[in-house]
């Protein structure tokens, strides 16, 4: 059973308590929500990096595209 440490500042008590079923369900729901948000962020990051890599590869084959990308301030080193 997951447990949490409760630090009661008013009394100074520090107590480990096992999560009750409602708290355990909330813990899992909270983690799932955060994991979904993190996956969305990481997918966006991967997509951006892939787009930059593709741009760099195309620019290597096309001097004109390289000039346009440079003028727009877009990275051409795959970063």
């Amino acid at each position: 059973v997951p447990q949490r440490l409760v630090v009661d500042i008013a009394t100074g008590a520090q107590t480990y308590v096992e999560l009750d079923p409602d708290e355990a369900a909330d813990l899992e729901a909270t983690r799932a929500d955060a994991a979904q948000a993190r996956a969305t962020e990481e997918a966006a990051l991967a997509a951006r990096d892939a787009a930059r890599t593709e741009l760099a590869e195309r620019a290597a084959l096309s001097p004109d595209l390289a000039l346009i990308a440079k003028a727009m301030g877009l990275p051409l080193d795959g970063s």
Binding site: P2, Q3, R4, L5, V6, V7, D8, I9, A10, T11, Q14, Y16, L19, D26, L27, A29, T30, R31, D33, A34, A35, A37, R38, T40, E41, A44, L45, R48, D49, R52, P75, S79
Partner: protein, 243 residues
């Protein structure tokens, strides 16, 4: 009060001695002991209270804490999924949350999720600046309508077992009961040389993303491991500043 400079041949008088006393940091067991001991307060006086482990300065009206004031501190003696700071006093204007932690799952990094006043509604939004040493440029990411704020990043068990990480987060205006939102800003992460390193700069707002905009002070903070447990020896501190 003139500032005392000791000259050769200085005659020690009661007035001179008392002036020197008032320009030093005076230790007291408690505020009441200080009140009993000092008959004439002078603006700018400094004292130390051993009951609260805090330096305080007199501003001409009242004694105020100086610097970051320790509110609570804990180091896990056994693994836990979360840590709750309860009954946070409204003594200060702002808080600093410090975490030096590690999570148990066999991953590289996990987030420490922050929750205020046990509010599990979709009332948290965050903006996240990332820097990883595993390739890719720093990125700006964001999320909203979340049920917690991924405010700090810590290493997990794929990194060396003795590597801990984390960071600190400023909670601005936590004790202000007339503000409907609370903003948090943090720096966190860890570098594991030759393997993977991640750093994060984050901003989070509670109550601003679809929230009820109910003005309230923060009296409880939960720090939740985003995956698995915080391992033994993970440590967490709470400081207050601004009176």
């Amino acid at each position: 009060m003139s500032f005392i400079t000791v000259a050769p041949g200085q005659t020690i008088t009661a007035s001179w001695g008392n002036t020197v006393r008032d320009q030093l940091v005076s230790p007291f067991a408690s505020a009441s002991a200080r009140t009993s001991a000092i008959s004439a307060l002078v603006e700018g006086m400094l004292s130390y209270r051993s009951d609260e482990k805090v330096f305080e300065g007199y501003n001409g009206t009242s004694w105020l804490p100086v610097g970051w004031i320790p509110i609570a501190s804990t180091t896990l003696g056994s693994a836990a999924a979360s840590v709750t700071f309860n009954s946070i006093p409204a003594t200060y204007k702002n808080l600093v949350v410090v975490a030096l932690a590690k999570s148990a799952p066999a991953t590289n990094f996990e987030d420490i999720l922050l929750r205020f006043n046990n509010d599990s509604g979709t009332n948290y939004a965050n903006i996240n600046v990332t820097a990883d040493n595993t390739g890719g440029a720093p990125a700006l990411l964001s999320g909203s309508s979340q049920t917690s704020a991924p405010i700090l990043r810590m290493p997990s068990s794929n990194l060396n077992s003795t590597i801990f990480g984390g960071g600190f987060a400023f909670v601005l205006g936590y004790s202000n009961s007339s503000m409907s939102n609370k903003n948090v800003f943090s720096l966190s992460g860890n570098g594991d040389w030759g393997n993977v390193g991640q750093f994060r700069m984050r901003g989070c707002s509670w109550g601003a993303g679809g929230g009820s905009f109910t003005a309230s002070a923060v009296t409880r903070i939960d720090l939740i491991s985003g995956n698995g447990n915080f391992v033994t020896n993970s440590s967490f501190q709470l400081y207050g500043f601004g009176a």
